[in-house]
Each structure stands twice: as structure tokens, then as C-alpha cells.
Symmetry: C2
Subunit: 478 residues, 2 copies
């Protein structure tokens, strides 16, 4: 193992010109539906694919080889998908073939907690240490690189974007990418690296730190060995790129679960919390929260303070939203006298109207009134307010039969987003109705294309906004 | 105002034989789509309806009267839907007509913070104090009583159920009922009582305390005047009926919002938190959480401890779920040696399998295996475990094209629910795909009919379960 920096090998990792799949299935149907060759073919991998299989000459129309050593050309990247016991032999062949990058998909190593698994992992470590080959895994899903067409799931978006993701979980990492894609988020690169026998969290962080295509970093991590290096890389990252981190194994039970998942030492909760604070990392507590945090980061401009102007219909709903904001460290202060007077001029004095913060204005049964936009603009121009959060209940509008509501709301919000001098956060209140669900998705997608952050519940919107403000404050203080 | 107990007037409140609507619209179309008479007709109110309007003889086929006093029969209940300035005169007429119960829908009283509103509210108070008439409101939606067909929204379920709900918010209360209905929950009675000029929180609590049809109580409250009476009623309630409470205005900003919403004094956060603890009230922090908490209470049997056995696919997902459980005060302990040995016998030693808690077993690509059910039964029989929580990802199954998955999963879960000696909590991981959304709803509804608690995210499932356990521990200790 040479002391190359990650950027020296990045091309082999994320843009390999050729991939060998050791353990490709000779059953074309099986390979197509769940195999690595099938995945690369379907996803449109742009390099050469070499299936390795002893019993067949062709897989999915590609010439198959009996071993990597029988491939006539050079190979940049190998995926090893054979059972754990056969992995050391496969790795030996890759080393002899001088394959730069090997991804060991197979599980059954350190994470089993059994002697056999530990022995196999130690054997791999020995092989790699004395070679020019670098290893991802074992027990992981490997690389997703939309630019080169390398992937571990064909459902992922083929479109590249600004998020770099390093993940110590495979199934969970896949879920995160998929959820994020559904929310309109796109990735520069993602790596699921499992037991991290060779390439580890700090390597990937250092890569993202210098990758011009990565503007945001998402991390799922369970444990690490090079704590100082990781810490230092994080500190440098957060200066230029917000880092969202889900740390698995912060609890006692979670630490036990981590041992059997990726054989990692989870570390102490206090230590990690200190690390989050010192590095400015945005810590999240669930997969869903990670995605919503990224939605906020990607779609919102820099938010300069924590004073929220709340605008929506329903006095009690505004009260609870205020409590939720303040519980997360945001503030819902009073407007200036001037703003209140101006709001009073456009607010009808009837059931459910208030010119105080949270303000209830112009959201009648018939859709958004002209007052709505004017009200939001008034709130945004108040010097006591740093950002506007507005909440809408699609259920009501569907009930009252306002057919073009989605159209009307998207246009109004996009228009507002353009004209306001302060950030606008939109919350669509969730329901359990398919029509409401579809309507929210439709508006969200339209608004997000225009760079407006839309959430489908208060909890997500408020947590993501609060943590975003805290990150920008941290950055400001440096 | 006589010192009648609430149970003496409950029939007039929840099962009035006749309702007068003061301020009915003479425009039939308008009345049908958004009026009180239209609402009662559409919802199938079972008593007599008397529309009051000066300009017409008939509204929606019902004979209209010029005033309540011109109605030939006695009237149990009146809804006053005229502007605030005209409310005192309407109330005077109701008092002269000896109408027992008056619901003042109109806003524009104490909650405006203006002199005029305060004066009007004081005037109403004077009138009521010296009468035999009782008043709900002003500034509220009134009563929903599915048994009698009285309602403030036609979307509510006509089917009665075990939940009694008292709400100091109208729009928010409506949203709560609607969300709860969509989740399969049903109400015995609900009251939105706004400014609480006469009938107040303690009155309704005391009613629910003795109502044989109410098994669970939901409270949205902003402030109260009879603190001691409320506290004492709550203490009695929680002995026999779990109380879920969303307190609006716990934060500083929230308390300000409460003043302009229902003119209530919100009170101090510490005082309320002490009250929750001493009374065993289950405090929640959002409308959505309130509903999910009720789903847990209605569908889960008594849970005897906080040790969770987690079963699902995805090592990282299990790790994060473990952390989330422990953050909420649940525990995810190790299984006994015996359970682990038995699990090892049915668990294939391949990528993504673990016989430790959280356990990953028999959830392959092809749907639920026979191992899945056996695994859950083994976990449930472990003496270290008090309840089982299983998580499933519908997205994967749709992706792999398992057509009858919903059917397969519902049947298996219902079968398991019947055979286990410990509670079963099911989490369907959410996505943003309409098909997934529909699939989850379909399975949830089927399972909940069979009394299994199904959630669509970890956060909701874990919080609701943890608070449920805390409630049963509190009850046990009394």
C-alpha cells in the first residue's frame, strides 16, 4: 500500500475506465435483476465491463473471462462479489493484475465477531498492505458516481449534483441517496465503505475537501481509527462546505449494534458531541432528517439570524409552530409597530386574523388572496425578522375545490422567492390523503427548481432551518 | 348561570334535540358550501334545525325564522354566526327563549386585544352570568358529536369512537380530528371552546371523566383560569383514561401568540412540565405527534417495560433506530444466549444478517420469508425483551416487483399480532413515491383494523411507544 493521497487515486475510484466483476452470475436473468454486471449495464456505465465467471463465455452480451488475469487489457477497478472465503484469492489475482481499486462487496469479515471472519479480514489487510492495490470495504456497496455511470443501485439519479456522500452503511446509504434523489437532490459522488479495512472516512473527506464538484458533504459514520486526521479534515471541510453528519452508535445499545454491523468502535457520545461543536458539523439524528437538512442547505441562501416571521392560517397552528421554533433555538419576536399597522390595513378583522407574529392573513377559503403576497413582503421587510416561514394546508384547498391551487401557489411562491430580500421557508402541512400527497410533491418540485426550500411538516422545516442558522453563525465566527 | 354540573347539561351540549342557527345565509349555495345549516344537513344531524334569517322563508328546504323567539317549539342549542357587534343581542334573545346551550362562533372579542372586543366579551359575560343559558366560546368551532350528527366540519367521520377531545383552537382542532380520522381514529365527542368565557377546560374534562364512551382524552389547551380544578380533574382522568395533551404557548414567543389567539394566559413552562409529570399526562409537541400518540394508545396493549427487540433489514438503519430508541428512553438490550443460538439456526450467514439486537433476519429481496415470522417470535419470547418493533421498507419490495407484498405483509403481521405474547409495533419506512404512500396506507389500515399499531416513520413510532411506556409505568406506580 503506497502512501498516495486520495486525489492521486481518485480517477481510479470515481472514473475508472474499466471494471471487472468477480462473481458475475452466468444466469443472465439473475444478473440483470440483481447482479453487478446487470447494474452497470442498466445504469449506462461508460467504461469497459469484464464479467468474471468460470462457466460461461458471455454475460448480458459481454465477453466473460475465467479470471481477471486472463483479461487482455488493463483494469482500473474490480468488484468482488464472491463469498468471504474466496475473497483473499480474488484479491491476490487483482494485485497480480495490478488493478488499482478493489471493492469487496462480500460480508463475513470482522463484523461477524467470529474467529473465521477476523482471520479473513486480517489476511486481506496483509495482502493490501504489501501491494499497489487499494481496497474499499469489505462488507459494503462501493461507489456511486453518476458522471462515470458507476453505481450500486439502478434507481439512483443519473444526473450529477453538488453533494458528496461517505457512508459506512450500505442499505442505509442506498436509502439516503434514494430519499435525497426523490427530494430533488443530486450527488457528485457517494461511497459506501463498510469495514474500512484500507480506504477510510478521512480519505474520502480529504477527497471531497478538494473536489470542485462537491459543495455539500453528507456523512454516515459508525466509527473510525484515525480520529485526529478525521477531525482535522472535518474542520477544514466546514470552512467551505457544510457537512451533515449522522453518527450511528451514539447510544449504548447503538454502540453494540455498530460492533456487529461494521466492527467499528462507536466511541463516546460526549466526545462526538464535542467534535460536532468544534468542527461546525451539522449533526442529525435520522436518515429522514439528513435529507431534509440537505434540502435546506441546497435551497436556502445564507440565513443571517434566527428571528422567524411566521405566516399561515390557524391560530393554534401558529402557536404550536412558534413553540416548536423556540424549542429548536429559533425566535418568533414581535413585529415593529410600523409593520403591525401596515398589516392591519390589509387584514380583515374577522375570525382567525392576527397582525402579530405568527400572522394570519389573507388565506381564505378561496385560495391565496392578493393580501397573502403583500403580507409576506411586509413581514420580510420588518427589521426584527431574519427569515419568513409560511405554512399552507393543501387539504383545505382540495376540500374547497380550488382546482388550480397547485399552479396558483407555486407561481405565487416562486414570485415571492424572487422578490424577497430574506430567505423564504415553505411548509405544506401533511395529510394522509393521496391527492394531498401528490399535490405537495408537485408544488415542492416546482418550487425547488426555482430554489425555494419546501418541507412537508413543521418538524423537518424548523429543525433544518435552526441547524442551518447555527452553521452559518459558526462559519461567521471563524 | 346555575351551578349545574357538566353532566346535568351534557345532553343539551352533545345530543341537542334541536339547533337554531342565528346568521344562516339566505343564499342556499353559500349555505350549502360553507354555512352552519348546510353543514348540519349534509352531516345528517338527527334533530330539528331552525335557520334564523330576516330575509327569507326557507333555507335548504327548512323553514326559516326571523328570530329564535318566533320558533314555536323549544330549542336546545343555538349557533351564533353573526358579527361580534350583533352577538350580545342574539345572546339576549337566546336567554329569553330559554335556550340551554349557546355556541358563539363569531370572533372579535377578548382575543383582539382591543377595547371594543374586551367590552363585548364583558357584556356577554354579564348576560350569561345572570341566566340559565350556558355558553361555548366565543371565537370557536363548537361541538362535534358523531352520535347526534352535530359537527363543525362535514369531512369528519360519522362513526363514533373512544376519543374525547377538548380544544382551545378551531382550525387546529379541525386539523387534529381530520388527521386522526384519516389514521382510523374515532371520537366520542369533541369541543372547540375558544375564549372559554363560560364553559371551560375543567368542565369538559369532568364530563369526559364520567363519560362511559370516552376511553382516551385528547387536549389542546392554551391557558386556563381554574388551574386547581383542572389539575385535579386531570389527576382523576389519568387513573382510568390516558390523556394526551398539546399545550400551546410553552415558549416565550408562543405565549405572546396565545394572547392574540384566545386571550389566554399561557403560564410558565416549568409549571406545565411539573403538571404533566404529577398528573401522568402524556405531553406532545405537535399536532402530528398527538395523532401518532393516540394511534399507539388505541392499538397497543399495555406495554410492561422499555426493552425493545428491533427486527428489520439494513444494519445502519438498525443502528440509527437503536440510537433513536435510547434517546427517547427505550432500551435495545442484548438477547439471551439461547435466543441468539436459536436465531443463528434460522439466519443465513451472509451480507446483512445479524443475530444480535437489532436483528436482521429473513427479509430478502423476495418478500417476507418463513424466517421472518419465526425470528419475530423468537425475539418476542426472549425474557430480556418487553416489546418487538419491526421495520419494513415498501420501496424495496415495489422495486423488486413483488406484486402481492401488501397482502403478504398484512396477513403475516396480523397473524403475528395474534400469536405474540408481547406488543408488536410496525414501522413502514417512508418514501416520496405515490405507490409507496398508497401501499403503506393500505397495509396500515388493514393492520389497524386488526389492532396492530403501524407507523410510517421511526420518529413517530419510537416517541409514541416511549411515552406510552412512561404512562403505564406512572399508572402502575399509583
Amino acid at each position: 500500500m503506497l502512501s498516495e493521497t486520495i486525489s492521486q487515486i481518485a480517477d481510479f475510484l470515481f472514473n475508472p475506465r474499466s471494471v471487472a466483476v468477480i462473481g458475475a452470475s452466468s444466469d443472465n436473468e439473475k444478473e440483470r435483476s440483481g447482479g453487478w454486471v446487470g447494474r452497470l449495464v442498466q445504469f449506462g456505465y461508460r467504461g469497459r465491463i469484464y464479467p468474471i465467471n468460470l462457466n460461461t463465455e458471455e454475460i448480458l452480451g459481454l465477453k466473460a473471462y475465467h479470471s481477471v488475469e486472463s483479461i487482455p487489457d488493463s483494469v482500473d477497478y474490480a468488484i468482488i462479489a464472491v463469498p468471504a472465503q474466496r475473497v483473499p484469492e480474488a484479491v491476490k489475482q487483482c494485485i497480480r493484475k495490478r488493478i488499482k481499486m478493489v471493492h469487496v462487496y462480500a460480508a463475513g469479515f470482522g463484523e461477524t465477531g467470529k474467529e473465521e471472519g477476523g482471520r479473513l479480514q486480517a489476511q486481506l489487510e496483509d495482502l493490501i498492505r504489501n501491494s499497489e492495490t487499494r481496497l474499499i470495504g469489505p462488507n459494503c456497496m462501493g461507489v456511486y458516481s453518476p458522471e462515470s455511470g458507476l453505481t450500486f443501485d439502478t434507481r439512483f439519479s443519473k444526473e450529477p449534483g453538488p453533494i458528496g456522500f461517505l457512508s459506512q452503511t450500505g442499505v442505509g446509504g442506498r436509502r439516503l441517496i434514494y430519499l435525497a434523489n426523490q427530494r430533488g437532490l443530486r450527488f457528485s459522488k457517494a461511497i459506501s465503505y463498510g469495514n474500512a479495512l484500507d480506504l477510510d472516512g478521512p480519505d474520502f473527506l480529504e477527497f471531497f475537501l478538494e473536489d470542485p464538484k462537491t459543495k455539500f458533504i453528507l456523512v454516515y459514520i459508525e466509527g473510525l481509527r484515525q480520529g485526529k486526521r478525521f477531525f482535522s479534515a472535518l474542520k477544514r471541510c466546514t470552512k467551505t462546505r457544510p457537512v451533515v453528519m449522522l453518527k450511528g452508535g451514539l447510544s449504548e445499545g447503538g454502540a453494540g449494534a455498530v460492533a456487529s454491523h461494521t466492527a467499528s468502535l462507536a466511541g463516546n457520545r460526549q466526545v462526538w458531541q464535542a467534535l460536532f461543536k468544534q468542527t461546525g458539523v451539522i449533526a442529525v439524528e435520522s436518515f429522514e432528517e439528513a435529507v431534509e437538512q440537505l434540502v435546506a442547505l441546497v435551497n436556502l441562501p445564507i440565513v443571517k439570524g434566527r428571528r422567524v416571521g411566521l405566516v399561515g392560517r390557524g391560530g393554534g397552528i401558529g402557536v404550536v409552530a412558534t413553540d416548536m421554533c423556540e424549542a429548536q433555538g429559533l425566535l418568533v419576536p414581535q413585529f415593529t409597530q410600523e409593520t403591525r399597522e401596515q398589516l392591519a390595513r390589509i387584514t380583515p378583522a374577522e375570525a382567525g386574523s392576527s397582525v402579530r407574529n405568527p400572522v394570519e392573513i389573507g388565506l381564505g377559503k378561496r385560495g391565496l388572496s392578493e393580501h397573502y403576497g403583500r403580507g409576506i413582503k411586509l413581514v420580510a421587510s420588518d427589521p426584527q425578522i431574519d427569515l419568513v416561514m409560511t405554512f399552507l394546508n393543501p387539504e383545505d384547498y382540495i376540500h374547497y375545490g380550488i382546482g388550480d391551487w397547485a399552479e396558483q401557489v407555486s407561481n405565487e411562491l416562486i414570485e415571492l422567492g424572487k422578490s424577497l430580500s430574506k430567505p423564504l421557508v415553505v411548509v405544506f402541512m401533511p395529510g394522509r390523503d393521496v391527492k394531498v400527497f401528490e399535490l405537495i410533491i408537485q408544488i415542492q418540485d416546482k418550487c425547488q427548481e426555482a430554489g425555494i426550500a419546501c418541507f412537508s411538516n413543521f418538524d423537518a422545516a424548523i429543525k433544518a432551518t435552526a441547524k442551518l442558522v447555527t452553521y452559518y453563525e459558526f462559519k461567521q465566527d471563524r
